[in-house]
Amino acid sequence: MSSPTREDLLGYLLGALERREHEQVEQELARNPQLRQELAALSQWVDAVGLADAPEPFEPPPGLAQRTCQTVALKQSADLNVDAPVPASVASLETRSQFSLADFLVAAAVLVAAVSLFFPALASSRFQADIASCQNRLRQLGIAYGSYDELHGAYPTAQLVGNRNTAGVVAPMLTDAKFVTDPRLFVCPSSKLATNLDGWKIPTLDELDEATGPTLTHYQQTMGGDFAYNMGYLEGGKLRPARNNHRKYYAMLADAPSDAHPQRQTLNHSGRGQNVLFEDGHIEFLTSVPSPKLADDPYRNREGRVAAGIDPNDSVLGRSSDKPLPDDWISESGR
């Protein structure tokens, strides 16, 4: 190397030179005071703009490597004799024509079964990763809730009457207001819906307002995705939206409940529990509801009904089609 250029000096400071080049720069610096001066000036600015600090890496989501390996393994199995890297042993077997594709597929199925049997930790890890991923989405929706509250003075909530009278209306309210731009946030990564989003959409509020008949029913049943939303509380015959009081165990959002389960537990996580986001921003995975941790059931009001709360601290989370004022209440007296 002739006399080092400024590019070389930068490379020296950034650790971008090969070892030999690095040594040559050091030798030249040792005998050239002008070069040292130039390096000092350069170093000051590299330091000033932050390039001398170790960069802060982004942490990968839990289970990324595992999911990647699973994706590749599936591809490997599916394309065993097409474009996957064919193991040498398999290739030699194929050339001898002693094994058919069916043999290999059977072998792959046996392998998958064996992995399932002998590596339960793998499934457990996937389960944990899905829970974490679901929590991440709830957390982002919680932030959107907070932004909505700051703008409107209350959380987004369904109305008592009209087309906006189901809990899932929160989804179009947040997307129309641009507090949520990615509709996938309303989908739990481990739910059935997540495996096929074709045909699922969040309507705009205008589309919802104009919908009638089966279209309206479809919107109300599906627009909220996989989660359940706070339905507010009834007071003096009126529905009040919840307001932010930073309560530790006041539920705001959760995995959507299922009527197929006796306690209305969600099916998003194979019936093993549900993520619940509370008003203070923390999320817990509750293996059962009602939970001993909670003063009330997040999926029913204090009267045990799927409806709005009966006081300001009675939190009830409704899935997309749940109504704060159920149809059977309307026929009852005095409500």
Binding site: G11, W45, P55, T71
Partner: protein
């Protein structure tokens, strides 16, 4: 000088194959199809490559998709990997292509460039020393480390793409000039001049943002 990413990579290696080089692992996988070997490679690059893609794409979900797509391509293309070649630049080349595809799909657009006069920007090598000459006292800052890090990231996001790409590889990914050149398929001299131009732009941006500093 900054800490090396290689240290980080070494610390996350944990399988029985951790003594093998990346190249040895890939060639072993190519010949045997051994999934454990492949998993070791994925684990080695999980943090580093995800971090790169997350920074490149600015979106966690897209970064995860691109990460998985990149390793799927590694699996599909490992037959094309030639012995004697370095794995890391090869992987990054694949990952960048996947990231570009992801960007196209999402129709996202990068922020307005700092350099309005030059789209590529790479060949415009200013006189960094001229900027430095006018500076007398120590520009070491009033900003804390976190603030400075945030400023750097935000400013880098506004650099011309050609400059940002080389700086991301050399600074954030701790690559040698030679490795970055291989990833981007450009001459080493071009990488050097782009890094120089990028630092010049950062310095200019710094002086604009903090004129009270020298």
């Amino acid at each position: 000088m900054k800490a090396t990413l290689a240290d980080t990579r070494a610390s996350v290696s944990h399988s029985a194959d951790e003594t093998s080089t990346d190249e040895q692992l890939l060639l072993t996988y190519r010949d045997s199809g051994d999934r454990e070997v492949f998993a070791e490679l994925v684990h080695r690059y999980e943090r580093e490559l995800y971090s790169y893609l997350r920074r490149y794409l600015g979106d966690a979900e897209m970064a995860e998709d691109a990460f998985q797509a990149a390793f799927l391509q590694v699996h599909l293309k490992c037959q094309q990997f030639e012995a004697g070649r370095a794995f890391r630049p090869w992987l990054y080349t694949i990952a960048i292509n996947q990231a570009i595809d992801a960007q196209r799909r999402s129709r996202r657009h990068r922020m307005v460039s700092l350099d309005r006069s030059s789209g590529a920007g790479g060949e415009e090598v200013g006189k960094l020393l001229d900027v430095l000459v006018s500076t007398e006292p120590n520009p070491t800052l009033q900003l804390g480390k976190d603030e400075r890090r945030e400023w750097l990231q935000n400013t880098m996001d506004r650099l011309p793409e050609a400059l940002r790409d080389v700086l991301q590889l050399v600074y954030f990914q701790d690559m040698k000039y030679r490795e970055a050149a291989e990833v981007l398929n450009i001459p080493v001299g071009t990488v050097k001049s782009r890094v120089h131009a990028a630092v010049l732009k950062l310095t200019e941006a710094w002086k604009q943002a903090y004129p009270e500093t020298p």
